[in-house]
């Protein structure tokens, strides 16, 4: 098979081209909504890419990944609320806060595995949700409106929608590249080895706990970046950003696209959010369709869309 020209590569290249040209389309047709929707898709895809690093490659089933979206967002929102608008302060603060949270949560939850890990990450994320809902100074339950987007040096202006979209897209592509580099490094191979057999990796001398913790922190930090972007995109941050169903959505994006596949999370995010748009256009009660659909994907299409593409390729070749 020629790796340069197969169905899967074509699909990914087409998707990337569509994402690159989207603002042009939006300008030509005068449809601002498409640009807003896709900015959201790109940001959530960044979060899904970070989740894929621990879920897909590391086998760590974190059900609390949305917490970092909220923490990154709240870091931006709180600083803006206190009158600090510089992105050079806000964004590093968002990354640092997410990294710290990931470090504490990871250090505790990685002591366990399997179903415990799912429940514990879920519970800690929910704790973050309740803590933010209790912050009366920063809006509590109602959330916090951000009146001014993060400020950077002159040519960069986040209030320009097209520019903001391209910034998000660039960061997404950089994150995909970063994750790809990580998983193919020695570090990444240890992580993947620990996913297959933790005990054996330990037996040949790798302190897997430490490796996994570092991986967990990297993923949390990346997702914190997505949170900072999301807060800038919606000019608003609320506890609902990190409600546990959002963590569920992120897992769906990763699994729907294809776990442990570099572009899988992006494909999954595009698919899920477009599906939501289409279904909510058909009926107000669209989740009644989405729910069983998810169950069917779990039962019959384990590899996600990327897996289906691979299967299709195998059929074409044979």
């Amino acid at each position: 098979m020629t790796p340069a020209l197969n169905l899967r590569t074509i699909a990914i290249v087409a998707l990337l081209a569509a994402l690159l040209l989207l603002p042009v389309y939006s300008e030509l047709v005068g449809n601002r909504f498409v640009l807003t929707l896709f900015t959201r898709i790109v940001i959530l895809a960044l979060a899904a890419v970070s989740l894929n690093l621990i879920l897909g490659y590391g086998g760590m089933m974190s059900f609390g990944h949305a917490a970092y979206l909220g923490i990154g967002g709240y870091a931006v929102g709180m600083l803006a609320h206190e009158g600090i608008f510089s992105g050079f302060v806000q964004w590093p603060a968002a990354l640092a806060a997410s990294a710290l949270f990931a470090l504490v949560i990871g250090a505790l939850s990685l002591r366990t595995r399997g179903v415990y890990f799912i429940m514990i990450t879920l519970a800690f994320a929910q704790m973050a949700y309740y803590v933010c809902a209790g912050l009366a100074r920063y809006g509590g339950d109602d959330g916090l409106t951000i009146y001014k987007r993060s400020e950077f040096v002159a040519p960069i202006n986040l209030s320009n929608k097209v520019q903001f979209y391209y910034l998000c897209l660039a960061l997404l592509l950089a994150a995909i590249y970063l994750v790809w580099r990580i998983v193919n490094s020695r570090f990444g191979l240890v992580i993947q080895g620990a996913r297959s057999n933790d005990t054996r990796m330990g037996a040949i001398g790798f302190p897997t706990y430490r490796y996994k913790l570092v991986c967990f922190v990297i993923a949390g930090t990346l997702c914190g970046l997505a949170g900072a972007l999301l807060a800038n995109h919606t000019d608003f941050v609320s506890p609902a950003t990190m409600y546990w169903t959002r963590s569920g959505d992120l897992i769906i994006m990763v699994v729907l696209g294809g776990m442990a596949s570099p572009f899988g999370p992006l494909i999954g995010t595009v698919a899920l959010l477009l599906l939501e748009e289409v279904l909510s256009g058909i009926t107000e009660y669209w989740q009644i369709i989405l729910g069983p659909l998810l169950l069917l994907v779990v039962l019959f299409a384990r590899g996600g869309i990327d897996g289906l593409l691979k299967q299709l390729m195998a059929k074409v070749r044979s």
Binding site: I251, I288, P292, V298
Partner: protein
């Protein structure tokens, strides 16, 4: 002092209620190795059924009994239609599949009952208070909840430890294939256990309904608490679930009412008022973190899992 006794009893009542949920969750996990996120949906359905049936029949007790039976049926139907296909799969599959079920249930409830939520009024004979100690009044309904849940806990203990079905349940928890190989109808057993778990969740939901409002999403918040309890108590252990549920119920209730006062002793009133709501909601998670550090497998782990 009176308030303190009342808060302790409230904590006990809430803890016992949480036990009903956690017991179902841990039973299903211990035997079928299934992570069921939709457990909270069954709690919600139980409450909605109770509100509806009580309005139809005009009797609270009759409505509750009918709701319990209906939730049991829904639980068994869910097991036969969906859950059965998830056994033996990866835990991630369970999480995703049952997450899909939550979306389905929430939206179905919105479709059938509307988004407003309902209320389940108490009959006048329960809506009173009794004198439990000289000079201490307590809501008779909350007292009734305590009595009923204690009875259910005793029933569960008897069922699991003293009957043939309980023996099969315990055997199934320690070695599924072997029980199947010995000719036990494992499919039927699973359906029964899942139905039992659903009925327990439904019972918790319908008993909580008159205290809180019946609304969409009510099951999801309490589900997280049930998870915390199973983690603290050790997955698969009913005894652990009971101890952990009482701990969590007590700490949550008493913490919420006394933490602001305690904080005022060390902080300025203003700072205490700000920190108290955030801190008191963290308490049970801190408890979980401490248990994890000391005993990662939970206080009463069922062993080998």
């Amino acid at each position: 002092m009176t308030l303190f006794i009342e808060q302790c009893l409230n904590g006990l009542q809430f803890g016992l209620l949480l036990f009903l949920l956690a017991a179902g969750l841990t039973l299903v996990f211990g035997i079928m190795d299934l992570v069921n996120l939709a457990h909270g949906s069954l709690y919600m359905i139980g409450a909605y059924f109770a509100a509806t049936f009580a309005a139809w029949t005009g009797s609270f007790v009759l409505g509750a009994v009918l709701a319990l039976a209906a939730t049991l049926m829904v639980g068994m139907a869910v097991e036969v239609i969906a859950m059965r296909r998830l056994y033996g799969r990866d835990h991630l599959d369970h999480v995703l599949g049952t997450f899909g079920l939550i979306l389905f249930f929430d939206e179905s409830v919105r479709l059938i009952w509307g988004p407003e939520g309902m209320s389940l009024p108490l009959p006048s004979w329960l809506n009173t208070s009794v004198e439990i100690l000289p000079g201490v009044q307590y809501s008779s309904y909350r007292l009734a909840i305590i009595v009923i849940t204690l009875a259910v806990a005793a029933f569960l203990y008897g069922l699991v430890m003293r009957t043939r079905i309980g023996m099969l349940i315990r055997a199934g928890a320690s070695n599924r294939e072997m029980v199947g190989a010995l000719g036990v109808n494992i499919k039927l057993l699973y359906t029964l256990v899942f139905g039992l778990g659903a009925a327990l969740a439904g019972l918790a939901g319908l008993m909580q309904a008159p205290i809180l409002t019946v609304q969409i999403g009510m099951g999801e918040n309490i589900l997280i608490l049930a998870f915390v309890i199973t983690v603290i108590g050790g997955i698969g252990s009913i005894r652990g679930a009971l101890v952990a549920a009482l701990l969590v119920g007590f700490i949550d209730t008493v913490g919420r009412s006394y933490l602001p006062d305690l904080l005022r002793l060390v902080l300025t009133p203003n700072a205490a008022a700000t920190a108290a709501p955030a801190l008191s909601s963290m308490l049970i998670y801190l408890l979980m973190a401490i248990v994890l550090v000391v005993k990662p497998e939970g206080l009463f782990s069922a062993g080998g899992k």
